[in-house]
Each structure stands twice: as structure tokens, then as C-alpha cells.
Symmetry: C2
Subunit: 356 residues, 2 copies
């Protein structure tokens, strides 16, 4: 039985978008492929509020996160973390012998503009990474405020993972001065996993030119140079199926209207948070609770595994807590194409199962 996915990725994909995944193949060295890939980039620029170039990558978002820290760090990277995905970014730096330090806060709390200011003030770092939306803890970091601080350090490359937020919250790449903004297909864009993408600034490209060993597949500079030279064709054969579906889905997103889309996400988030506070408690500090996923503190000590099993029998799926938060929390994603009606349907089923 198909389950409606309220997990923080892969999210529910609508039937029409799934159909696009079944588009017949074309050659990847054709005008048709160039047009497809150029159109996607143009539409993504609107969604990201940027004039910067867009790079597509056939990989999960992790691939581009790794490519970013490896391609653009000359001196040392400051990796800010408020949960699992921030920690992963740090591990990627270590795996690639990129000098880096991790600044992690207690899970449930955000990384603050003050802490970023303190860290950057010593002049040791030329790249910082921030996770905009941390699905493990349900925290949405105050990237707009952090951006104001980073602007005081013009030598620093500002990298933001918006993997689980882009398309569900307004992220103004150019206004905020984000040099590399990364996302992937299977969260708020409402597509199957397998494609990730980022915007990249001139400043980040210039930094990459000074880094000697950037690898190949995730070398942001090689990808950039290839699409400039080959009219948006990629160095190796990309996932055309995802590109067909993304092109279609971006039309739908722009047609909905970006402000409408973000407001719909906020409406769902507000409703889930209200429910969570009423029946349980929020895990994340409330002012920083995410717009796209709510992490619920399991104050009633229910068995999350049993709840999810019972939900599964009714055709729904939520997520248990991440890693060390398993059974101590559970997570409800409100991403992509769902609306308030779907959220109410899910929550009333949970109420019914738990007799709340």
C-alpha cells in the first residue's frame, strides 16, 4: 500500500510529477538537453532570488555539500552545526583533508549571528557553512541575521545548505549574500531523490580557482566551466529523468506563486506546532522552529515505532527521532505539495490512534 509520506524526505510526489520521471530519453549532448537544463537554471534563479549561475548535480545534496567545502576552502572552514546534517558537513571536510573547525550548539537550539561573529572575528576562516534547516532537530537557523554578520567579512565564502527548506521558505540568495546555496530534489521541491543543485557566486568561483585538488565529479569550478562552454550541458551524463520532472515542477511552483507557496508552508507549520504544543511539546526552541518539519518532544513517552506502524496501516508515515533522539522525539514534515487538509488528516489519525 502506498503511504502518504510526512517524513523529511523523500516527500510525497504528486502523480503528474511522477509521470514526468517517465519521459522518454533524449541525447545529453543535444540542443534539447541544453534547452532543458538552461530553462531549469532560469526558473531556479527565480526560486532562489539570485542572478548567480545554477549548477545541477546527479547526486544527493550531500554530494554538493562535500563539493562546496572541498572546492572553495583555501585556508580553513568554520562549520556551524545544530544537528546531524551540520555534523555531516564537518565530517566531509575531515574526509577530504580540508582544514575545518566545528561549532555545534545543543540540539534544539540554533546557530546564532553572535556566535558567527565571534568565530569569524579572529580572521582564521575563509569559508563558513550553515545548515538553514536542520531536520534532525526541527530547527530553522536565522540565516538572514547570520548573513548580516557575514557581510562584515568580505573574504569569507558563505555556504548555506537549504536542502530541506528551499521551496518551503523564502531564501533570498543575492540579498543575503549567500555564495553557495545548496538544495536537493526530494524535500520542498516535491520530487524523487537523485538530483541536487546549487547557486554559485563569482566570489566562490574565484576562490575555487585557488584550490589545487578539487576532485572531479563535485568540483564546482569544472561543472561551471563545462556548462559555460557547452551551453548548459554537464561534464558527465546527468539524470535526465529528474531534469524533465524538475522543469515541470518548477513551472508548477512558479504558477502557485512563491509567496503563496511559502505562506502555505507557514500555515501547515503553525498548525502542526499548535497541535504539538497542545498534545506534546516542541523539541526546538520555538522562535527557531522550522517552517518545513516539526520535531515533537515525546513528553507522553509513547512508542513512536508503534504509532508509525499503526499510521502505516492507515496509509501514512511520519519519522522517528533522528539518531540519539529516536523515541525521544518524532518528526512530522510539512513540505512540498501537501496542504492544511493533509496535515489535519494526519493529525486526526494520530489523535485517534493515541486516543488524545
Amino acid at each position: 500500500m502506498y503511504k502518504k509520506l510526512f517524513i523529511p524526505g523523500p516527500t510525497h510526489v504528486t502523480e503528474d510529477a511522477l509521470r514526468e520521471m517517465a519521459t522518454p530519453m533524449i541525447g545529453h549532448r543535444t540542443k534539447e538537453a541544453s534547452n532543458l537544463q538552461r530553462n531549469i537554471s532560469d526558473k531556479l534563479r527565480k526560486l532562489m532570488y539570485t542572478e548567480n549561475e545554477i549548477l545541477l548535480s546527479t547526486s544527493s545534496g550531500s554530494g554538493l555539500m562535500e563539493g562546496t567545502v572541498r572546492s572553495c576552502t583555501q585556508k580553513r572552514a568554520a562549520v556551524f552545526s545544530c544537528g546531524n546534517f551540520g555534523n555531516r558537513w564537518f565530517a566531509m571536510a575531515e574526509d577530504n583533508n580540508v582544514p575545518a573547525d566545528k561549532f555545534e550548539v545543543e540540539w534544539g537550539l540554533p546557530n546564532t549571528a553572535e556566535s558567527v561573529n565571534q568565530v569569524l572575528a579572529n580572521g582564521e576562516y575563509d569559508l563558513i557553512t550553515v545548515t538553514h534547516n536542520e531536520t534532525s532537530s526541527g530547527v530553522m537557523n536565522p540565516v538572514e541575521e547570520i548573513a548580516q554578520v557575514v557581510k562584515k567579512y568580505p573574504e569569507v565564502i558563505f555556504c548555506v545548505a537549504t536542502v530541506s527548506s528551499l521551496g518551503g521558505a523564502k531564501i533570498e540568495v543575492d540579498k543575503w549574500g549567500i555564495d553557495i546555496c545548496i538544495t536537493s530534489s526530494q524535500k520542498c521541491l516535491g520530487l524523487p531523490p537523485g538530483l541536487s543543485l546549487c547557486s554559485i557566486s563569482e566570489k566562490a568561483l574565484e576562490a575555487a580557482k585557488k584550490v589545487k585538488f578539487r576532485g572531479t565529479y563535485f568540483d564546482l569550478l569544472q561543472i561551471y566551466n563545462c556548462i559555460q562552454k557547452k551551453d548548459y550541458q554537464y561534464p558527465s551524463t546527468p539524470s535526465l529523468s529528474h531534469m524533465f520532472a524538475l522543469d515541470y515542477q518548477l513551472d508548477k511552483i512558479l504558477q502557485e506563486g512563491l509567496d503563496n507557496r511559502f505562506a502555505r508552508h507557514t500555515q501547515m507549520a503553525d498548525y502542526v506546532r499548535g497541535w504539538a504544543k497542545d498534545k506534546f511539546a516542541l523539541f526546538a526552541q520555538e522562535e527557531f522552529a522550522s517552517n518545513t518539519v516539526t520535531c515533537v518532544k515525546n513528553t507522553r513517552e509513547i512508542s513512536v515505532g508503534s504509532l508509525n506502524k499503526a499510521l502505516g496501516e492507515r496509509g501514512y508515515m511520519i519519522s522517528n527521532g533522528y539518531g540519539k533522539l529516536k523515541e525521544k522525539t518524532f518528526r512530522i514534515a510539512h513540505m512540498a505539495e501537501f496542504g492544511l487538509k493533509d496535515i489535519k488528516e494526519l493529525l486526526s489519525n494520530i489523535d485517534d490512534i493515541l486516543e488524545l
Copy 2:
């Protein structure tokens, strides 16, 4: 208009396989995902004639080629090349600061067992890479013979790219002693691009343990450890759509029968080669002409671009020569689900257009 693709990837994907790409999403941390990924690995072991573990990667084949040379070279890699894809493999080593030397033959000729013996005899190398099927020149390297030589050097990790041949030619991984055998979805497996995979031996895994900086996304050892620990679940969200389609397609392949499948490819190859020798000439040395793609020497000095345009109007597509061979050669792929009927249909259209 949809064109029947006779290009060396992406190849034609049948409608039923395309439909599998539109399968609704499941969570990637579920039993269902484990079962899917374990089943794929079991079926691939049959296709590869191996008991080794299989690793899937959401990327093009290039990603795993890079991961291989980076993850498993301790001392120095000997990269054998007879065309563009061999050269790329060498560039990947360079991009990752992996000590390596390239041994390239004139395009159209194969890498020989003798040359491999000569190179390995000096004891400088602990990893060698060979491209089984070079689509740029239409050469299929004598990997079985090369394998006999490599066996004399038990310290050497033997890596073979069968990106454009696995599923269209018999490759006996265990019998030949291939430590890492790489392929991807969009060639002889008859699926859209976006997924690549490899088999990996214990010896290669042991070698990886001794390499310090292997990166993250293409670190073969991290992928291996993750699927052992998490019952075939991958470190980051994989392309489930491709996995659904691959699982389906592998059933079809095994149902056709491997020997039947390889024989069908040989039949198509023989026919195209006969036609090429009759009307033009073969670019590759005939004894090493590929079973999956024929590179035709443009002895009539036709405009390949114009031919492909005319073919396009009739619903077919072939490939121009690769890079420096553009217009000097053209390429006809005979891969995946096509049969002799499709090949005859294509060639009679070429004859008709060129008035041959």
C-alpha cells in the same frame, strides 16, 4: 518527436521500464528500501558472475570511477587508456592528487596484455584501471587476457570500467579476478542515466582501509560499511526511482537469459560491422571491435551532422565521432533492448538517405 536512440548512451528505454521510473516514493530508511536494494545487489551479482558485494551510487559512472582510483590507490595507479574515457580516468587521479601514470595507445587500438605485463613488472603500481569498452573509438579491450597477466601481481587492485558493456557482453568478474567492476544505468542495462554501480572485492576494501583521505560521497569503504550496518541502506538518500526501474529491468534481463542477451548483442554488432565494412570502414582494429558500439570510419567524407539531421527527421539518432574524431567517424550503438530488426531499420534508413 521521440527519436530512437542508437547513441552510446543514453540508450533507448522501453516504455515498461520508463513506467517503473514513475513508482511512488517510499522512505529510504525502511525495510522496503532495504529489500529493494538487497534484491538489486543479488541480481547484479548474477549479471556480473561474482560473489562480491555490490555498491550502488546515485551518480554517473564517472563518479564511481573517481571513487575507485581515489579510495584504493596507496602507492601509484597505472591507468590504461585507448580513448577518451581512459583519459578521463587519468584526469580524475590527477584532480585528486593520486599518483598515477597514463598508458595510452593510438585510438582504434586496444590496450594489450603484453603492455600491462610490462608496466606492472616494475612493481611501482598497486592499482590498475582498464576501460573494457571505449565508446570514443569503438574498441573492446581484451580484459580476459589482461586479467591473466594481472593475476601474476597479487598486490595489484584490478579496476575495470564496463560502463558501456555490462549487460551486452559477458564479464566474469570472479573468474577474471576483477576487484572493482563499474557500470552505469544508461548503456546496456537499458535504463535512464543517473545510477551507477560496482562490485568490490575484499582485497579492494582492505586497500581502501589504508588510504587516509578518500572523501565521502564516493568513498567506497564508507558506502560498503553503511550497507553492511544498515541492511543495504545507503549513506545518503539514493535515487529510488532508478532503483525501482533497475530491479524491474534486471528481472527482464535474467528472464531473457544472459547468454541469449549477449548473443543478441553479438548478432547486432556483427550486422553493423558487416554493413560498415561494406559501405565505409571500421575505425577500430577489427579483432577488438566492440560488441556494443561500432565506430565507423567516414571514408566517404559524408557530412555526419547532415546525416544525423536527416535521420532525426525520420525518428532516429546516431552519434558523431567523439572529440577529435568528429566528422572523421560516426558511431552506432547496438545496446540494451534493441534487436536485429531495429538495426536493419536504422541502416536501411542511412542507406536511403546517403543513396548507398
